[in-house]
Amino acid sequence: MNWINAIVQGVMLGGLYALFACGLSLMFGVMRTVNLSHGDLAVLGAFLVAVLAAAVGISPFFAVLLVLPVMGLVGVALQRGILSKALRTGEMSSMLATFGLAIVLQNVLLEIFSADSRSLDVGSLSTSGLQLGSSVSIPYLGLLTVAVAVALLGGLQLLLARTGIGRAIRATAADADTAELVGIDSRRVYAWAAAIAVATASLAGAFFAMRSSFSPSMGPTQLLFAFEVVVIGGLGSLWGTLVGGMVLGVAQTVGAQVDPRFSIIAGHVVFLAVLAFRPQGLLGMRRSRT
């Protein structure tokens, strides 16, 4: 029975991980940009939500809706100001630049908000759930997270695979110059993708803040999980990212069920196992020619 609960909780946690990884998957998997500041952008989003909610005295959920567009603009700024330039000199530059940004963000937040960890109070929502029998209980917040994750990732997946905009994004990611030559405004496409990525990051940050708590130093810890999720799921497939999130989440909770100290290590082991047996990721496809 506890095992069932472990799996249920794992799925819930997986939803959150998937949400975290969503923006990363878009940038890393689709646009081939390694954004090491992803985690800290999420934290930034959480802080904005917290501040707004406190200042205006509205529920965090409304605050989130207001913050998303703002973070979208942050994403555009990030793309225009840093990534576009860095990308020209290759993956590594974008890694370093975003890493620099990560440090700056962390410490600016620390300067402003101190190191205290705080959380978004959504009242009973974060503490109530569906009791199934004695040991299985499904948290409402978890359900909500999973629902949002599925909707978001599913939506983006369809957008990428089916729509013209999606094609344009993938084309630009593959070869921006040539994309221009077939009439795509690569800058706008990149800006959009970055906006989506960063906005979803802050969304994840907000959910994380509701579920547990957040502090300026939290970013990197979650970043690695997010990356693992993307790789487990398979580069460039957002469905994969969703699956990857679930896999990692369940791995951690089930691992903890065996022995609490295995929780995180179990996650890494699963990740490494995927590397060993399916390097292209669960839903990723292998390329032969290029």
Binding site: S94, F99, G100, V104, N107, E111, F227, V231, I265, P279
Partner: protein, 349 residues
């Protein structure tokens, strides 16, 4: 294409010597490399001249140079960008205990631990090489985390609390400091030499080829995987040595920090500052980083870190080839040449 016509009928090698010659060493580079060797030699006497505090600082610098040079060999030449080298740094540090606990002298233990980490790198590569590009980079991070958690769950290594290297706290501080310094100097020199030799060897150019296009490289006969593995192992050994030295000078390791991803950050930072894919770059980058850290690193705090981050961003955006890379490009300069230049006699029509 007239240059071709006169020789198309001759045998390949003979006329080539006639029409062109290959240059690697230039007068500049000869003096430079001479000067460097001299400097290293001179540094050996530092403990007799400088105070322990100075040598302590230099030791830190050497460690930085080592990790930077290793990361550069890995990323800049073999194209293996990794954010997981801290994994080997950590193994190097903790490996020391494995030997010390068996009665080996701490200093020898540092060397052995480095080699041990190299051995671990071999199986690791089997797994890691299944990934490429950003995936490899992050994969290595996860692997490093895995190493960390293994250590954390090994009580004999002090678990999460870390461990102190008590064997050294007995010796007189000044003496110990000097010994650590010499070890650091020696290891740095050896490792730098190793990289230099590697890059000038027949493998050097092949590595760059692999970085640019593995498939193409294989199709001209390059043993791609084994070449990559060689560098990977070297980088592991180097990183581990740095870890061991860190332990020897701070006398205490704690998993979260010795396995901390900030190491990777520093490596990337130093290499990019100095100039990726150049032999000189990482050394310069390390010195810059060291100076920055030393000047306002002490009163540390948020602003120093913010400055560091901002600098990292600025460099990548406005000086992507790094300090050395930029200079070298301007003047086509190579102090320690690892490339080739062809000189053709000028024939004006």
């Amino acid at each position: 294409m007239t240059t071709a016509s006169p020789v198309t009928t001759a045998s390949p090698t003979a006329p080539a010597t006639a029409i062109a010659t290959i240059h690697r060493w230039t007068p500049v580079s000869r003096t430079a490399s001479g000067a460097l060797s001299a400097l290293l030699l001179a540094l050996a006497f530092a403990p007799f001249v400088f105070t322990p505090e100075a040598t302590a600082k230099l030791t830190t610098l050497f460690v930085l140079v080592i990790v930077a040079a290793m990361w550069n060999a890995l990323a800049g030449y073999a194209g293996l960008v990794s954010v997981g080298q801290q994994g080997f740094i950590g193994l190097g540090a903790y490996g020391v205990f494995l030997f010390v606990d068996r009665g080996v002298s701490p200093f020898l233990a540092v060397v052995l631990a480095a080699l041990l980490a190299g051995a671990v790198a071999v199986p690791t590569s089997l797994l890691a090489f299944r990934l490429t590009g950003g995936q490899f980079a992050i994969g290595m991070w996860a692997i490093a985390e895995f190493f960390r958690l293994v250590v954390v769950n090994t009580p004999s290594l002090g678990g999460g609390s870390g461990r102190s290297l008590t064997d050294l706290s007995a010796t007189d501080p000044a003496v110990r400091q000097a010994q650590v310094y010499w070890l650091a100097l020696a290891l740095m020199s050896v490792l730098l030499l190793a990289v230099f030799v590697l890059l000038r060897s027949r493998l050097g150019a092949s590595l760059e080829a692999i970085r640019d296009d593995p498939v193409g490289a294989a199709s001209v006969g390059v043993r791609v995987t084994s070449a990559k593995r060689l560098v990977f192992v070297l980088a592991a050994v180097g990183g581990a040595a740095a870890g061991g030295l860190t332990l020897a000078s701070t006398l205490r390791v704690q998993p979260d920090s010795i396995f901390g991803v900030h190491w990777s950050a520093y490596m990337i930072f130093m290499v990019v500052i100095g100039g990726l894919g150049t032999f000189e770059g990482p050394i310069i980058g390390a010195i810059v980083f060291f100076l920055v850290q030393d000047s306002f690193g002490d009163n540390g705090g948020t602003w120093y870190l913010i400055g560091l981050g901002a600098l990292a961003i600025g460099m990548t955006l406005w000086m992507p080839h790094g300090l050395w890379g930029t200079v070298a490009r301007r003047r086509d300069l190579e102090l320690l040449p690892v490339g080739y230049r062809v000189k053709t006699p000028v024939v004006r029509p």
